[in-house]
């Protein structure tokens, strides 16, 4: 069962990511990316991390992508003409070579060292909200405080960038 679910979620996640990169229209790309992140939530659920799966849907697919869609729809219309063609094929070829090299290395690595199975230790401790919060608010309290400062600075930065020009004394 786990095998089928893994391959289903993995294929959908990768396929949606490829569609994100390949789609011409930014709104289409954002919707594909939301689909990709929802499948990533399925991957997290398979990794016995239910809390992360929920947060993936809430934060990534919800908050962050809504922010993206908001900005895209604000800028779109006259702003985002279809991307110019030309040099596209050349770029794809330039990209395909290292990607093929990396794929060969990966396949060689997997076939040589075999598949590392998960130990049973992981099975016993599913990442529920209670357990993760226990770690987050005890052992990693300093990191938690620091990341909240990062978010605060991001808020202040976004506000400073978004002000009207006459309100910007540094101009």
């Amino acid at each position: 069962m786990e095998i089928y679910l893994f391959y289903l979620f993995a294929a959908l996640m990768l396929g949606a990511a490829v569609m994100t990169v390949a789609s011409r229209n930014a709104v289409t790309a954002a919707v594909w990316l939301i689909f990709s992140f929802i499948n990533a939530a399925g991957i997290f659920a398979l990794l016995s991390a239910p809390f992360l799966a929920i947060l993936q849907v809430l934060i990534y697919a919800g908050a962050i992508m809504v922010l993206f869609l908001f900005v895209i729809m604000m800028l779109q219309g006259p702003v985002l003409p279809a991307e110019r063609e030309g040099r596209r094929f050349w770029k794809l070829a330039l990209l395909a070579a290292p990607a093929a090299a990396i794929a060969v290395v990966l396949v060689g690595w997997v076939s040589r060292s075999g598949v590392t199975a998960f130990s049973d230790a992981g099975n016993a401790s599913a990442g529920t909200a209670e357990r993760v919060a226990g770690l987050l608010l005890n052992r990693y309290l300093l990191a938690f405080e620091l990341i909240s400062i990062v978010l605060l600075v991001a808020i202040i930065g976004a506000l400073a960038l978004g002000r009207r020009e006459e309100d910007q004394p540094w101009r």
Binding site: A17, T20, I43, E83
Partner: protein, 101 residues
């Protein structure tokens, strides 16, 4: 065959490559930002997979940190894009080369 750590690592590597390809070949900076989100998501999968491997939930805590970093990156990146659009009327990175000239 059972699904093990290797499967998740290969999946994350492929996901990261897709994101990297997006940053390299796309000229629309909105889609470049989305590709960065794809790469961050690949990193999250690696964290969760090793967490499952060792039966230690510290990896999950750092995935939470990564969520916060992704949110901050999206907020600042999009604010910069809106400002660039306001000044230059474009978000195409080919046309944003003032520093180059």
């Amino acid at each position: 065959m059972e699904i093990g750590l290797t499967h998740y690592l290969v999946l994350a590597a492929a996901m990261f490559l897709v994101g990297m390809a997006g940053v390299v070949i796309r000229r629309n900076s909105l889609i470049m930002l989305m590709s960065i989100e794809i790469m961050l998501c690949a990193v999250n999968v690696v964290f969760a997979a090793y967490s499952r491997m060792h039966g230690d939930l510290s990896g999950h805590v750092f995935v939470l940190m990564n969520f916060a970093v992704a949110a901050a990156e999206a907020a600042i990146g999009l604010a910069i894009l809106v400002e660039i659009y306001r000044l230059r009327r474009t978000v195409n990175v080919d046309e944003l080369k003032t520093l180059m000239e």
